[in-house]
Symmetry: C2
């Protein structure tokens, strides 16, 4: 923790020092950083994650086209410095309003839209090499977790196995959590809160000795970092449970390989070892779910084509087979379709069998 | 708890007995229930909540137009009975898949779309007078809570003041929670998780001796029931904190008066004593937030007109004044705009002042 704080502090100081040095030398102050556009995004075959290439750009203060963005980045750094000093965190929206001040004697706001402050925060991440969370800017809060794990957070000792039907509410920022005890063989992440409630009511985590985590829809940065920390610090396998539709496949791939929007973080937010446990096209056949197929619409079909062509899916035979099965079966299937086989079929049969037989997609 | 279970069990038994009695008498079995359509929704001025009127409808088994819906309702009752017996809960989606079986010897599914099973569940709520949760059908899970409260849930003793930065994750169903200790002067409910994180980091609930609750967007049934139970069982005032836009006003009114979709539950899900703490048009002026006004679009303007004409807002001078101020100020304002005054302005100044000066809208 302390170490991380020193790292962020130092990175911000270096950032400021560099500008001051340039000013003292009578130079036009300039910020140099790696380009974040699509043209500079690479799928790193070795690291198995999306990252930025080598192209750089610079922003000079005395350049009418650059000066506002230059100022925005410096302002974000200044706000980050204050937040760290005050030991407080701001949401991206909070940060926007803090940055949106009017330059004295003018009618010009430093930012007018949140996209501007968001981009300035990303700039600062790229320039300093420190993550948004470490700069004290938080993303969204979402999701629940349960399992035989004890953590220390903000002075509280929290036992994830003793939180009733609700579980622990995952914060947007998990950088400062300390894991005191982790008793689990694997982690199961699912995209649906309702499925989490099913498994939780069935005490799946207790019976199977695992950790269950869910969001609702998008996997937040907080959840991804939590998964990554548990995976790295305790060498735990992670299995992802999604609807068998193209969005499920994409949710999985973002956890595994990263996303275009976060390519500037490289492997900092990716978990290459993560595996996909289901639902699959094969499950549809094996568990007699054909009747629960939901017809693909045009959006599904075109998204399947697109995702199948992503570099990280291209050479993957197992996934290409799944993409084909969407067409062959003419539909997609939800996790909850398993409930047709019995309300606890998923906990008693489906998941234990999959884990036992190591039926995963990589 | 036990009492509630007996009530649901008995209601289902009565429901079945009634049908059997009709069959034994050689009658055409018929279900009679209160109509749920718009034509039968009344704003009860005395109870200050939306409820159904006296119009009833019936569904007969031997009527080609009714028979499927009759069967759906009976099927839902049967699934509910099993869930209660097995001490399990199903999400609405789970319930849909459980009900969606094919009638033997035909190609007819009992339901084809979730709207059908949802409606059948509502039918059963109206007929039995028992809520969906008590019938073991859960709605969505969402939201976090913190405060000096100790609860008992599923055998776990949970202290809401000792859950680190995340808080307790609110389950979809809070019927079976027991409150062991409640040390709070009021409850603050906010529509945004990011604002909750701000107040939580500032230990607002500790300093102000209150409970803080948030969802993200829509207030789930679980949250509304939790608010209602805390309000009724401990006589705690509830204040609602929303963006100053028409959607915020509506979120507030649903908690206070109920909604058209849930009118069949009458006052079971409403909290007439709830008060609106902000943001208001007056705050925009008082706290110098004009610069942060976001222009109204056509959708906003037409929705303002619509909401202002709702019966429960019609005679309310204070709210009518707010609705006018949207037009006068030409915009709406987010809660987070307060961050422009300092990241903890909301915790240190805005909310304490409002509470102290009793500046609420009813």
């Amino acid at each position: 923790m302390a170490e991380k704080k020193i790292k962020a502090d130092k990175a911000l100081k270096d950032f400021g020092d560099e500008i001051v040095t340039q000013v003292n030398k009578g130079k036009n102050p300039e910020l140099v950083f790696t380009l974040r556009g699509l043209s500079n995004i690479i799928f790193d075959q070795k690291a198995r994650s999306l990252r930025l290439g080598d192209k750089t750009a610079s922003r000079a203060f005395f350049n009418v086209a650059h000066t506002k963005k230059f100022l925005q980045t410096v302002e974000v750094a200044s706000i980050s410095k204050n937040l760290i000093k005050e030991e407080k965190h701001a949401s991206l929206r909070d940060a926007f309003y803090q940055i949106k001040r009017t330059l004295p004697g003018t009618k010009i706001n430093i930012v007018d839209e949140q996209t501007e402050s968001d981009k300035a925060i990303e700039d600062l991440e790229v320039i300093t090499g420190v993550s948004r969370e470490q700069l004290h800017f938080n993303a969204n809060k979402n999701g629940s977790i349960a399992g035989k794990v004890v953590i220390l957070d903000k002075g509280d000792t929290i036992d994830w196995s003793k939180l009733g039907s609700g579980g622990w509410s995952i914060p947007s920022n998990v950088e400062d959590i300390t894991f005191k005890k982790v008793n689990a063989k694997y982690i199961l992440y699912m995209e649906k809160a309702a499925v989490w409630e099913r498994l939780h009511e069935d005490k799946y985590w207790d019976k199977q000795n695992c950790i269950i985590v869910s969001s609702q829809g998008q996997t937040t940065r907080g959840i991804r970092r939590l998964l990554q920390r548990l995976s790295e610090e305790f060498n735990l396998p992670i299995y992802v449970l999604c609807d068998w539709d193209i969005y499920g496949a994409y949710i999985y791939s973002v956890i595994k390989y990263g996303s275009i929007a976060l390519a500037h973080l490289g492997s900092k937010m990716t978990i290459p070892s993560v595996k996909y446990i289901g639902i699959t096209g094969d499950d549809v056949i094996k568990y007699d779910l054909k009747k629960h197929l939901i017809k693909l619409d045009e959006k599904d079909t075109s998204r399947i084509k697109q995702v199948a062509n992503y570099e990280w899916f291209k050479g993957n035979k197992d996934w290409q087979r799944q993409f084909k099965m969407f067409k062959e079966l003419g539909g997609k299937v939800e996790i909850q379709a398993l409930s047709a086989r019995g309300i606890s079929f998923i906990s008693d049969k489906y998941l234990p069998d999959k884990i036992k037989n190591k039926e995963y997609l990589e």
